[in-house]
Symmetry: C2
């Protein structure tokens, strides 16, 4: 009997796999380093061998797999499972990952953008359960997101809706990987935090990471605290647009940088409360996702279950 | 028998009323100048006497009214018909216009923001009929809007979603009536067009209107053409955010300034195509609403019909 599902979160630094039961509990998980610049067939090989390995570790066989869900960083054509483009994997141009995986695995495969999968997970089993109208914001190397309205995911025409990271916050600002400039992704992601810290601390060491800045901010080092305030200020400008445009009940933060939520949230709130309309900005629930790194795995499973 | 409906569009300069049949055809219409700074009871009196007058002109009696729909400029609590606030009518603070009108008229009354009513009209009988995912942008003295996703209006928690005019396009920019600064409403509305024209033409006359600038742009007067390009550039920044966030099939333009669409649309498209992601920006339908000044009247009726 088909009793379990595989959820996969393909990230720029690691590929995470989980075996999930019908109640959305993770039975077993594995994580693999992502080869730099991996192309489509490398990704498919890595996923297929990862599934064998995680099944083996769990004492399960591939006969029991009911479905596979995959979250990927990039724009995915909804309903087709084709990755249109991915800043993390430049070789994945119009890559039909769903077809290749379903041929290799002989089970139904669902593919979507990783932030959409994380939002499905948080909606099904995490911080977003109570909300019909919410926006999920993932903050890490980049900034992604997903929108729910009227209890449904907002996908838009092609399934690319939710690109919060590319809201323009400085019209004449820094060039972004997407081809635009002044996107909030350049001003409120992990790299921006390091940049603000360096500029204020005069620490020019190449080795400093957002993680380091986080630890220094926890220790109340002023340039590190400034870096998170500055990042929160820009994130607040983008979220002002989101609040005025969508009037969400809740803003849910996930991704690595969301661990630092208490360092940046006061600045976000100050900007949103000052700039957004009174009625939609009052009483917004700002919350960290509760599924952590498992959000996209669980969401991918929720989405892929028949 | 109750056979017709009244649609009302309360604007900052005029109040428009229409008697609409069951097939959403306008049988008869009237328009009244809006008294400056009118308070709630003045508005109710004006609407009630306007309805009597338009019925009389049409040879109808109030017995035949099945429902009344009202569009108002401002934030309206959805489901309650209470105007939370209105920049055009500062005295309408938490004004329960629905209750007052339904007591006076003894028929069901529905109240919503004017841009939402216009969107309902265009969705029911205008340019938005074919689209399940679209954004309506009204451009006049201010900029408003409405969002549809998955075939449904996106209202958000309180019903205030769609405030496109308050997307931030210059973080350190001009103060806006909403309390924020740098909102696109300050950079792409009728007043902004006049401002750009004045700055470029060195015409400092107080009397020049957006209408005048429009006529001069049609005559290919360079400073007037520049004014619409500049306005379109800023509108394009805000719509880049909208396109990345919502991936709409269509952007529908209404309001007085939308008459100048061919003057500003090339700049809007140039910015959106340069800045927004390829997949969502390609093939967007940019269209002027087809219901013109009747959009909110027809939408109010569509929304109010039992």
């Amino acid at each position: 009997m088909k009793e379990y599902h595989i959820g996969i979160d393909v990230g720029g630094t690691s590929v995470k796999l989980g075996i999930v039961d019908r109640d959305c509990r993770i039975l077993c998980r594995r994580s693999y380093g992502t080869p730099k610049g991996m192309d489509g067939s490398q990704a498919v090989d890595l996923i297929v061998s990862g599934i064998q390995s995680v099944l083996h570790a769990c004492g399960l066989t591939s006969d029991g797999i009911a479905s596979v869900g995959v979250g990927v960083p990039g724009t995915v054509r909804y309903g087709y499972g084709i990755v249109d483009s991915s800043p993390n994997f430049p070789k994945w141009h119009r890559f039909d990952i769903r077809r290749e995986l379903s041929e290799r695995l002989s089970v139904p495969v669902v593919v979507d953008n990783d932030a959409k999968m994380a939002a499905a997970g948080e909606k099904f089993a995490g911080a977003a359960v109570p909300y019909d109208n919410f926006v999920l914001v993932t903050i890490g190397t980049g900034i992604g997101g997903a929108v729910y309205a009227n209890g449904l995911p907002v996908r838009g025409r092609d399934g690319t809706a939710g690109e919060i990271g590319h809201i323009v916050v400085e019209p004449e600002g820094m060039e972004c990987g997407c081809g635009s400039n002044g996107c909030v992704e350049m001003y409120a992601s992990a790299g921006a935090i390091v940049r603000y810290y360096r500029a204020r601390s005069h620490d020019r060491s190449r080795a400093v990471t957002a993680e380091d800045v986080y630890r220094r901010a926890i220790m109340r080092e002023p340039p590190a605290m400034y870096a998170f305030r500055q990042m929160g200020m820009y994130l607040g400008i983008a979220l002002t647009d989101v609040v005025n445009l969508l009037n969400p009940e809740a803003l849910i933060f996930t991704g690595k940088v969301s661990r630092a939520i208490r360092l940046f949230l006061p600045s976000v709130k100050a900007v949103v409360n000052r700039r957004a309309f009174r009625l939609p900005s009052r009483g917004i629930v700002y919350r960290k996702g509760t599924l952590g790194d498992d959000a996209a795995i669980i969401g991918a499973v929720c989405r892929a279950r028949p």
